[in-house]
Structures are given as structure tokens and as C-alpha cells.
Symmetry: C2
């Protein structure tokens, strides 16, 4: 019988073993949780919808690169609920086979976003070529399997330890204010499996809504929250297929959907909107 | 002496000859304009900032894929002004060497977004593999140079005619409501070179602002426009480097910055904002 201690949960993540998403899953759900790697975000969502995993750990925003728009679209397509969030400080390390020196390295593989976040390192090491690859942890695996002493990868600490790589340089990202926010998503029927948060944790709610394209409509929609002092954390817009220049708006705000003021704000929004869907209320994490 | 008829303008675009951006440049500036291809968006912006081109034609949003976030960030980094917009209906065609039949084709190359927009075609032609490539028009050039009869590309009509390809199948995109909006950007000192719009054209203005992260601040910012019936067309947020979970907001709205109500709305916004930068007022196009 599955127990709500995380031990029997299968948490899907995108990337290979050692990915930042896997680290985020263990941080939020516990080290006992079983983590399942998927090559693509849509396969990860599909695994949860079809019951092959209890939850997915989806990166939703990086403080430098911005929103992960594909995961916003996938939340719309799948009937999953957000049950938690967590933040990771993204530390990029240069990782190679044990015994390799920085002066040996000629090519560094990683995800294009990670390469772009280490611009100073590449400018200071002109002999090294940046090579885009499928993901950060997968680059470490590939470099170590190849046995090449001229190749290295950029990834997190977990990837180095998972594949037995050595860290040649630590924290080579340009900007230390580099955080990724992750959301834990589950089927509504699996909510009981998620470890309960501390009673004292502040709550946060996410929803998505659509409004007809009429003058001032976004202002009026935000009024439902502002007039009740419900504090907005984030707004994101995504296009609606087949309706050019109309958008779905995603909001994150402080409070639980059962709080009276939040509840009334959502009801007020529903008066104006074509559709409102609450994506979940969950314990607010800090970064 | 450069004349404002478009003939002496060098318009930078991203991609190879035959790209949708090149088609957009000729549509807005005229067939006489000289168009200069650049491999990357940042090189295209740099060419205009440094005076190697008079203007850049930047795709800013696709009605299915959403905003081109890199170009929002590049508008912030460069001191250019938006002087025009245009829309293109994106029609994807299957293009191969003359004489090739659909039954010969085994691999189809194109930009990943174009491949994703032709899902039905690939499901109906299981013998064909979709191969991601650097861009649409560049895929046509590559396929025709290779001489292979098993290879084809997905791109616009202009790419087929530019490289002498034959169109095997026309309009293979899943969704006909597929439009891209492009912005024409120039140095403030080059505005006189841009062909004047018809006097009757409605105007549109774009700006970017930052506000301190205080409760209700976005609602108050939008009030500056809503209370004056200035109609918002688009809002987009982008992260601020070094300030996690704070954003620059980009707005597009109806009217010219010299219109009294628009002018007052911008002044009102400036009272609340840390910074406001008008990116330009320009003739509004329809799609």
C-alpha cells in the first residue's frame, strides 16, 4: 500500500540521471523517492497522466533565462495539479574524467542555456570550444563514456558524482543569482501520496484564465486580485492555438484557494473570464 | 545620398536567403531594399547598432509558437527604435530538387518549430523522418546542394524559388491560423530613411518598463492605460538579470506616443515605474 512518505512515489523528470530536475525532486519529495528520467517534457507529463509515475518535477522558470514555456503549455494540456514548488541555486561546474587538467580540455559540452550562462569562462579560455548538447547531465555521461581527455562538460555537482567525474572548476556561471523554480505535479487522485508540508508554511496558488479580447480586460481581471490585496507573484501569457493574438494568462499569487479573499477573487475573475482553471494551491518555498 | 524610398536601405535579417524574415522585409520596406542575412539574432542587432545596416527585421511573435523572447531581450540591450510592423501568413511547403516525387523522400529538414507545426504531415507519411536543422530556407539550400533525391525541406515559397527547388506539397502546416509578427528596427538617426506610411494608418506604440516588486504594482501600472481607454494589445514579461523573480514588462497598445491620452498614460506610468522606455510609435499593420 503506497504511503505518503515519498518512498513509494515515482517522480518523473526530464533529462538524464544527475540532472538539476532530479536534484529538485529529491529536495522536495525526499531522498527515498524513485526518480524516472524522460528524454522530453511531453513524455514526462504523459507518464504521470497515464499512471506510469505518481508525479512530475517540472522546471517552470529560471531567474536568468526566463519561463519554460513548453511546460506552461503542457500544464494546459494535462489534467494535473500543482502540489509543491522548490527552488534550486544553479551552480555550473566543469566536469571531466579524473586526472584531466583544464589545459587538456578543448571542447566543453552542455545544454545551450548552460553554455550561455558561462560566457566569462569561455572568453577566458579561448582554446576551448563550446559544444551544444541535449542536456547537462547527459553531457557528463557522454564525456566520461568517450574516454576523451580533450572533452569536458558543464553540469551540476550531482552529475559529477553520479557518473564518477572530477570537478575541474566550480561555479563557473557568470551570475550567481541563478535559480530555477520547479513545480511538482500529480494526478488529482494521487494527492494523498505527497508528503504533507509543515502546517506553518505559507501557501501559494496558480491558475490559468482566458478572457475575450476587449479593451481593459486584463486590467479588470487583475482588479479581482488587487482590490482584495491578493499579492500577485507572476504573470505569464501564452498564445491560444487558432486564435491569433489572444492569450491564456497564468497567474501565481499568495494564499490558498480556500482562503476567503482568494476564493472571492477567483469567483470575481470567473465572472469576467471565458474560462478559469485553478492549477493548484501548495506550500510556498523560498529560494 | 540615401533616399527615403527604401532603395538605399540595407535591412538585416536572421536566416538565409529565402527566409520568412526576408519576405517580411520586402513586404514592409519594398522590393528595392537590400537585405543582408545574419546567422544569429544578436549579430543582426549588432549590424544595425554599428551602422553596417540601416534597419533589422525581427520576428517578435508567432501566433502558434508565441513570443520570440530573445528579440525582446535584444531590444532592451540595443538603442534601436521600432518604426514599423508587418505580419506574414506562414505557409509551410515541402520542397525538393525538381523531379523528386513524394514517394522518394525519406528525410525532411527544417527548423524545429516548422517541423512541429507540420505534425499531421509526418503522421500521414510514416516513411519520412523529421530532421531538425538551423533554419527553414537554409534547409532548402542544403537539400538542393546535396543533390540527394531522398531529402527534402520545409520552408516558404520564396526559399523554393530562390534556390530552384520544386514544391512537392503546399500548405502542409497543421493550423492555417499561423502568422508571424515582425518589427522593423532602426537607429534613431536613421528614421528619415524609412519610407513614410500612408497618412491614414492607425498608430501603435511599444514600450518597456520596470516596477519595484510591491503589492498590486502591475495592476496600478495597467491602470495608467485602462483609465484613459488606451487599448492594450500585448503584455510580455522578461526576467531581470541579477534580480530573481523581478521582470521587465513590454506593452504594445493602440495610439501614438504624441496622442494626448497616450502621452499622459506614459507620464502616469513613469510616476510609478523605476524606468520607462518607449521603443517606438509606428503604423499599425493588419494580418
Amino acid at each position: 500500500m503506497p504511503q505518503p512518505d515519498g518512498s513509494s512515489m515515482r517522480v518523473a523528470f526530464q533529462g538524464e540521471h544527475g540532472a538539476f530536475s532530479q536534484e529538485a525532486a529529491h529536495k522536495l519529495v525526499g531522498s527515498e523517492a524513485q526518480t524516472l528520467p524522460f528524454r522530453k517534457f511531453d513524455e514526462m507529463f504523459e507518464a504521470v497522466s497515464s499512471g506510469n509515475a505518481e508525479a512530475a518535477m517540472a522546471p517552470i522558470e529560471n531567474s536568468l533565462a526566463g519561463s519554460v514555456h513548453q511546460n506552461y503549455d503542457l500544464m494546459m494540456e494535462h489534467d494535473l495539479t500543482i502540489v509543491g514548488e522548490t527552488y534550486l541555486r544553479i551552480v555550473h561546474n566543469l566536469i571531466a574524467a579524473p586526472g584531466v587538467a583544464l589545459s587538456d580540455v578543448r571542447r566543453v559540452y552542455s545544454h545551450p542555456v548552460a553554455l550561455a550562462q558561462c560566457g566569462k569562462f569561455f572568453r577566458a579560455n579561448k582554446q576551448i570550444e563550446a559544444e551544444p548538447a541535449y542536456d547537462t547531465a547527459g553531457s557528463v555521461r557522454m564525456v566520461l563514456e568517450s574516454g576523451s581527455r580533450a572533452d569536458a562538460a558543464i553540469a551540476g555537482r550531482l552529475a559529477a558524482s553520479h557518473y564518477g567525474g572530477a570537478i575541474l572548476a566550480e561555479g563557473i556561471e557568470d551570475n550567481a543569482e541563478n535559480f530555477t523554480r520547479f513545480l511538482l505535479l500529480t494526478r488529482p487522485t494521487s494527492i494523498g501520496l505527497i508528503p504533507a508540508p509543515p502546517e506553518t508554511a505559507a501557501r501559494k496558488t496558480s491558475l490559468v484564465f482566458r478572457v475575450a479580447n476587449t479593451p481593459g480586460v486584463l486590467y479588470k481581471a487583475l482588479a479581482a486580485f488587487a482590490l482584495r490585496d491578493v499579492d500577485l507573484c507572476k504573470i505569464e501569457s501564452r498564445p491560444i492555438e487558432g486564435r491569433p493574438w489572444e492569450y491564456s494568462f497564468y497567474l501565481d499569487f499568495a494564499g490558498d484557494q480556500e482562503d476567503p479573499s482568494v476564493n472571492r477573487a477567483i469567483a470575481h475573475l470567473a465572472e469576467m473570464a471565458e474560462s478559469v482553471r485553478v492549477l493548484g494551491s501548495y506550500p510556498s518555498a523560498s529560494y
